[in-house]
Amino acid sequence: MYVAVKGGEAAIANAHRLLAEARRGDSSVPELSVAQIREQMALLVDRVMTEGSLYDPDLAALALKQARGDLIEAVFLVRAYRTTLPRFGASEPVETGAMSLRRRISATYKDLPGGQVLGPTFDYTHRLIDFALAAEGEAPVAAESEPLADAAHAPRVTDLLGRDGLIEPSAADDGSPPGDLTREPLDFPADRALRLQALARGDEGFVLALGYSTQRGYGRTHPFVGEIRVGTVAVEFVPEELGFAVPLGEIDLTECQMVNQFHGTAEVPPQFTRGYGLAFGQSERKAMAMALVDRALRAEELGEPVGAPAQDQEFVLAHCDALQATGFVEHLKLPHYVDFQAELELVRRLRAEHAARHAAPKAGTAAEMKEAAE
């Protein structure tokens, strides 16, 4: 139960002024610009966009600046901002198969039509702190080479497997609009579209831990990375007044196709199954973890035993949102004075009763012994 408190206005205003000063830090150190954050903290910006569920790199960078780099606070700011804007509608589904690739790797095939490109990756770095970065230096220059002729056409690995019927096909688009958990409250059981929406905006750490748990045996899915692709896709939108698809521009996305073992059933011959991950920007860890959890959440659909945390959709979906989680955890620090007073009185009364019982026993015990003796 919540009971309002009043007062504290001056202290709160001053705390906010102090926060502003602390945010700026030592004023003899140059201030960060939003563009610097956008360009040089790009993966953090991508994460704010993904979990904030709003694609706008400048806005995410500004939110990070305002939040002093606190990820969830920045997500909070972005989510609050979006509630002030009207929604024009929904885009046409993006065509990730036609992605302009910056990175594309597969752990299942060495040779792929279109090739494997590493792109800007931390993979194969030595994870040694580079002290040269502590000093300002020349802008690094990437190597260049002529693209091979086949680079423009890079079909999905799942399409290649699909040709031989070795992997389950995706459920066909029946034209019905997908559910939207920002419009209708989440209801269980949630279909796969809603689960993917929840996972896409879910906390990376939570989704990562759940994905990891499936690898350690809590709902095994025997995953292989069929493909990870990072790059840009065109977004199109059909405004009601125009009636044709208008190009809105390009966004950066990361897609992960997880290929999983499946033994088949009486009706379905053995084939691979799929887990899917998609995130804004370059968010590889998130897309991979999402794909693992997506597959784990399909256990019931595929007739597998259900029992591990990552297979329990109510557990996963109700707890994956960082903002909901932080709201409920952090509200504990708000004034609960009246509740606590009530608890205090209860504890005092129980203690008094306990003390009374403890004081009485001598007489009581003596009496009981006497009774027993009689």
Binding site: F88, P93, G97, Q116, P147, L278
Partner: protein, 159 residues
């Protein structure tokens, strides 16, 4: 009902492809590039706002498995503008981001493109944007190509 006559409000197909290309180019342009294009077109007229430029959201959708049923990935900020020339041509712009001034410039160019006699001139005025973007894409492709791997060659080890 939904649409009394859908065909009536859709431009002819080849026209539509060209118009969408101009719209896409405007979306990729810097605001100064659009200002320069309008200057080059001698478009002194300040069109009427059918709807003042406005920032809102579009829910971006992906497909389950990349190729299946759609799902809602997350929203994107989108800014739109709609203008009308004195001749009655209406121009529209919908762009990712929050640049209202740019959306209005793009809507003006879309309206001018619909004036039959100015269509070619609009496309010429936007050619520098197309050239810049093509060069940027090619440079990016060269940097990406340098990171192409061939694990097969390494695994074979015989040559």
């Amino acid at each position: 009902m939904p649409d009394p006559n859908p065909a009536a409000r859709r431009p002819e197909a080849p026209d539509l492809t060209a118009r969408r290309a101009v719209m896409a180019l405007c979306g990729e342009a810097h605001p100064e590039e659009l200002r320069r294009a309008l200057l080059q077109l001698g478009a002194a007229e300040d069109p009427e706002d059918l709807r003042p430029p406005e920032t809102g959201l579009v829910m971006t959708r992906g497909r389950i498995g990349g190729d299946g049923r759609p799902f809602n990935l997350g929203e994107a900020t989108v800014t739109r503008a709609a203008v009308r020339l004195s001749g009655g041509e209406t121009g529209f712009a919908y762009h990712l981001g929050r640049d209202r001034a740019k959306a209005r410039l793009a809507a003006t160019l879309d309206a001018l493109w619909q004036v039959r006699g100015r269509r070619a001139a609009v496309e010429v005025a936007l050619a520098p944007v197309a050239a810049r973007r093509a060069e940027e894409r090619a440079a990016e492709a060269r940097r990406i190509a340098a990171t192409r791997v061939n694990f097969f060659t390494m695994a074979r080890g015989e040559d």
